[in-house]
């Protein structure tokens, strides 16, 4: 069980939305984790790399800031095997590359623009994730 945290989660969502609006309004970029990461590991040009590197560094500093503010470490509870992490990671990487985005790019920024591609992508990955957990927890693992 994990605790239902509607207000904290809503606040987290508002921060994600704020970051998305700032990145578009200031730099004209979609706040999509997939696109930012892909351009960081495969830079298209020298000038296109710095903003990605600093943005990723900012993301990775969040657990430290959380610790400074709250005195607690960020909870990362992993209820699955290392094999599931490796296989899941490989499939996620290939999937978001072909699908052209993930939860942040399609699910937030794309749907915010009412992009039909993003709406389809989000419905598909959410439905498949629910089905996958149903199978691993209630069919195979149940």
């Amino acid at each position: 069980m994990t605790e239902f945290t509607p207000w904290m989660s809503l606040f987290g969502g508002v921060l994600i939305g704020t970051a998305s609006v700032l990145l578009m309004g200031l730099f004209g970029r979609v706040m999509g984790a997939t696109g930012i990461l892909a351009g960081f590991v495969m830079p298209q040009s020298a000038g296109d790399w710095g903003w990605r590197a600093t943005l990723l560094a900012g993301m990775m500093t969040a657990p430290a800031l959380y610790w400074i503010i709250s005195g607690d470490a960020v909870a990362v509870d992993v209820p699955v095997s290392t094999a599931a992490m490796i296989i899941g990671g490989l499939i996620v990487g290939a999937g978001v590359t072909y699908g052209g985005g993930c939860t942040s790019g399609h699910g937030v920024c794309g749907i915010a623009r009412l992009s039909p591609r993003s709406i389809v992508a989000t419905v598909v990955f959410m439905a498949v994730a629910v089905a996958t957990v149903y199978v691993t927890r209630h069919v195979v693992g149940g």
Partner: protein, 147 residues
């Protein structure tokens, strides 16, 4: 100055992920487990993020250009095709197996948790492999046309 701003935007995004619970696979997987230990919290993350972005984009995209850049880089693709659906389905499968999506994993790297590092390394390998395959598919017809 630009890099200070992009750093802060990343930090705001990362704090949203951390506070929302998306850096925690146990919470994410419970969101998907509607028939079991369902935790609807992540619907509130999505709702908050989507609401603010939809509203903010309305104002921001009305301008001719971004404040500190020349153009808005918006995806031009409109077509709903096989790679979009198959890729998204694969992403859903991997997300359901591991409990991390890219935006959840990247801020979680800052915790130093070994599982996050393993997941991220595998994810980057998946991105590089898919890009390599895509590059071949694009160049093959071009080469044939040249011959």
């Amino acid at each position: 100055m630009r890099f200070v701003l992009t750093y802060l935007i990343g930090l705001i995004f990362g704090m949203g992920i951390v506070l929302g619970g998306m850096a925690n696979p146990a919470k994410v997987l419970n969101f998907f487990d509607v028939a079991g230990t369902w935790d609807p919290s992540l619907a509130f993350v999505m709702g908050g993020a989507l609401g603010v972005t939809a509203l903010g984009y309305r104002f921001v995209l009305r301008r001719a250009s971004p404040r500190l850049a020349e153009v808005f880089h918006l995806p031009a693709l409109r077509q709903i095709d096989v790679p979009l659906v198959a890729g998204s389905a694969a992403f859903g499968l991997g997300w359901g197996l591991a409990g991390f999506c890219p935006g959840g994993a990247l801020p979680a790297i800052g915790t130093g948790d070994p599982a996050v590092l393993i997941f991220t390394a595998a994810m980057v390998a998946g991105i590089l492999a898919a890009r390599a395959v895509q590059a071949r598919q694009v160049t093959r017809p071009a080469r044939e046309a040249a011959q």
